[in-house]
């Protein structure tokens, strides 16, 4: 078997259904094999960054490993932003890059780049394969590492002569790496300690992070929260890990979180953090974060624990298994639900006061379309059942605040890296992985232009994605910071030239729609949702609308600008 045949065979054995990629000299042999392999669908993107994000969006929305295939040199470097995006959000992706023949490595050959060197700090692991016979093992290991433990991107660099060489194909059914043994089962004594803390607390909050979604722990979480009557708040990555419409949901916390979520966390005496990593956007000023709270921290990655905040009960393990164990104790002890309710009664009363004092809200305007209104309408019209990708900036925060995500894997957003241009290609990946479902990308006029070339990809694949552009003619989030903290010096945030998005859509063969007045929003959104092809909706929103509440960077989360 040739190396290229082995690579494709390995992909088949790993159950890969779709690859996002772009060919080039160093991967022609693999592409030649893919030509003969109809069972693996190849999606030809228009830029390699799009391929990496699409593989990521596929992984986020399906829970499977996303795969991306690109050539050496610029093909490989173009994926780096996508790789770093997946790394920051712990998304399982395997990136296959072509490489110059082994004898030319280090020679500054044509389209040569040291991609394993470049991606070392932004991959979970990477490999440079030097011998054809190593391919099956390396590829097996790559998928294994990507999907187990704390998931993440794994890059495999494939020199051209390794693809062309011949060897026998030995597929390892099982793989065991002595240096990589993630801990799944939580320490029982730690879980018991956690339970005792819950029993003795009077002002608890559950803090849900992306780990709940990655480990599929949402059902256990719901059961625990309901049984103990706990308030639940979510990080951006945790949205959908607990139903946003649930009466016990406080919505998102942090920089643009709700007033009541931030107040609840700040005044709590116990935080049960599940698969969250206490990012600076969540904690605000760390020294002032939840000063009275003891912290129970469940995470599969020991480095997340005790990194940013001190933790009283660390629980290293899979979120799902840890919550199962905790529930088991809850059931064994068998404290009646009434007692739990009684215990947190005063706390809930306080939370209700905060909720009433500053609910999540905005002012309607008769002339201008408010972006929050657009997201609310979108939520209403889709009954909350769409998979919603976002770009990064204001569009992302309004979506996080006003679209109530009830189920995991329905919000596809770049949380950690904050990558503009992520949403649209990620939506392509999500739609490829969920053919029957409604997939929406909420975009800004800035970020959509960062990967707009992928419209051709979506058209080619016949994907009926709906792109909702909240068009304010500004790089809105930066403008908002300049307005609030830089005395309105709007430096380099106003676009003097914007394309006509409707005509642009039409140029690609897509449907283009526009709304400029509040009363047009609903009919235009309806028309978009009924469309059976790629649809771009250009919504002209109030140009200087801000995202509120807001905690200024580096301040305590109780110091919110509410407006």
């Amino acid at each position: 078997m040739t190396g290229a045949q082995m690579i494709v065979e390995a992909l088949k054995r790993e159950g890969v259904e779709v690859i996002f990629g772009y060919p080039g000299g160093a991967v022609i042999d693999i592409y030649d094999e893919l030509y003969k392999t109809p069972e693996i669908k190849h999606v030809l993107v228009r830029h390699e960054q799009g391929a990496a994000h699409a593989a990521d969006g596929y992984a986020r929305s399906t829970g499977k490993v996303g795969v991306c295939l690109v050539t050496s040199g610029p093909g490989a470097t173009n994926t780096v932003t996508g790789i770093a995006t997946a790394y920051m959000d712990s998304i399982p992706v395997v990136i296959l890059t072509g490489q110059v023949p082994t004898r030319l490595i280090g020679n500054d050959a044509f389209q040569e780049v040291d991609i394993t060197g470049i991606t070392r700090p932004c991959t979970k692991h990477n490999f440079l394969v030097k011998r054809t016979e190593d391919l099956p093992w390396v590829l097996k290991a790559a998928f294994h590492i990507a999907r187990t433990g704390r998931p993440g991107p794994v890059l495999v660099d494939l020199p051209k002569d390794v693809q062309q060489g011949k060897a026998e194909f030995h597929w390892p059914e099982e793989i065991r790496l002595r240096s990589y043994q993630p801990v799944y089962d939580p320490h029982p004594r730690q879980v018991e300690r956690a339970y005792r803390l819950l029993e003795s607390s009077t002002r608890p909050v559950v803090l849900v992070g992306g780990g709940v979604i990655a480990s599929g722990a949402h059902e256990e979480l719901l059961e625990l929260a309901e049984r103990l009557h706990l308030p639940v708040t979510m990080t951006l990555m945790g949205l959908g890990g607990f139903p946003g419409t649930h009466p016990q949901s406080l919505g998102m916390l942090g920089m643009h979180g709700t007033y009541y979520a931030n107040m609840a966390v700040a005044n709590s005496d116990l935080i049960l953090a599940v698969g969250a990593r206490f990012d600076d956007r969540v904690t605000g000023k760390v020294d002032a974060f939840a000063p009275m709270a003891k912290i129970i921290h469940i995470d599969i990655d020991p480095t997340s624990i005790q990194k940013n905040v001190r933790v009283d009960v660390p629980i290293v393990g899979d979120c799902k298994r840890a919550l199962e164990k905790l529930l088991q104790i809850v059931k064994e002890v068998g404290r009646p639900e009434k007692i739990w309710r009684e215990q947190f009664k005063d706390w809930w009363e306080q939370i209700e006061i905060w909720k009433k004092r500053y609910p999540l809200t905005y002012k309607q305007d008769p002339e201008y379309i408010k972006p929050q209104f657009v997201i609310e309408k979108l939520y209403e019209l889709t009954r909350g059942e769409a998979i919603v990708a976002t770009e990064v900036g204001q569009n992302q925060m309004w979506t996080a605040q006003y679209y109530k995500f009830d189920r995991p894997r329905t919000l596809i957003t770049s949380g950690g890296l904050g990558t503009m241009g992520f949403g649209f290609p990620a939506a392509i990946g999500a739609q490829m992985g969920n053919p029957g479902k409604l997939v929406i990308d909420v975009a800004g006029d800035g970020s959509i232009q960062m990967n707009i070339q992928e419209m051709a990809t979506a058209m080619e694949q016949g994907l009926p994605i709906k792109v909702i552009i909240l068009n304010n003619g500004y790089l809105g989030m930066v403008r908002q910071w300049q307005e609030l903290f830089y005395e309105r010096r709007y430096s380099a945030v106003k676009f003097q030239v914007l394309p006509d998005f409707v005509k642009l859509a039409e140029a690609y063969g897509a449907l283009g729609l526009r709304a400029t007045r509040p009363e047009e929003v609903e009919p235009v959104l309806k028309q978009a949702l009924e469309s059976d092809r790629l649809t771009l909706v250009d919504i002209h929103i109030a140009p200087e609308e801000g995202v509120f509440p807001m905690v200024p960077a580096g301040r305590a989360t109780t110091e919110m600008i509410l407006v």
Binding site: P121, R178, S179
Partner: protein, 165 residues
């Protein structure tokens, strides 16, 4: 929290890139490396790495966890936390040895049990092995005589076996 020196003993897969991952981890996350010593172990598929670093308790905890998180890292032990351990470093010191100081240098070698490994008309090259305190003492004493060049290996360390029966 007080900053303290820690000696970490690390077993890693003997693969290309493993050392780069470790060095990159330290530079990327702003941790310090005072010294680093790497060589093959009895098992040729594993390398042993002794790393001296500094930081408060939380930083050292992060460093150890981050090292363990690397796929190629097999084992990390904070030797400093062990009750008893042996530490050694070696230095080659090229020292000026003129007519009037040659005897003095040799006497110092004798006291510190150093070896003269190269002799030229105007220099001695001395090999000195021991804990870092001893190396420091030798260097301080030789400085006034005139050190031309020093090369040090960096620290290596090993846990002592229990002596009770």
């Amino acid at each position: 929290m007080a900053e303290k020196k820690h000696t970490l003993s690390v077993l890693v897969e003997n693969t290309p890139g493993a050392l780069a991952r470790i060095a990159g981890l330290f530079s990327g996350r702003g941790f310090n490396i005072d010294s680093l010593c790497v060589a093959e172990t009895l098992d040729p598929t594993l390398s042993h790495l002794t790393l001296v670093t500094r930081g408060d308790e939380l930083i050292i905890e992060q460093i150890i966890k981050q090292l363990r998180r690397l796929i190629d890292v097999y084992k990390v032990v904070d030797v400093t936390e062990e009750e008893e351990f042996v530490e050694r470093e070696m230095a080659l010191i090229k020292v000026r040895a003129e007519k009037e100081t040659r005897a003095e240098v040799l006497r110092m070698c004798d006291i510190f049990r150093c070896k003269v490994v190269d002799v030229s008309p105007r220099t001695y090259t001395i090999e000195v092995t021991g804990p870092q305190s001893k190396l420091q003492a030798v260097i301080e004493l030789l400085k006034p005589i005139g050190i031309k060049e020093i090369v040090r290996t960096g620290l290596i360390a090993m846990k002592r076996e229990k002596k009770s029966v």
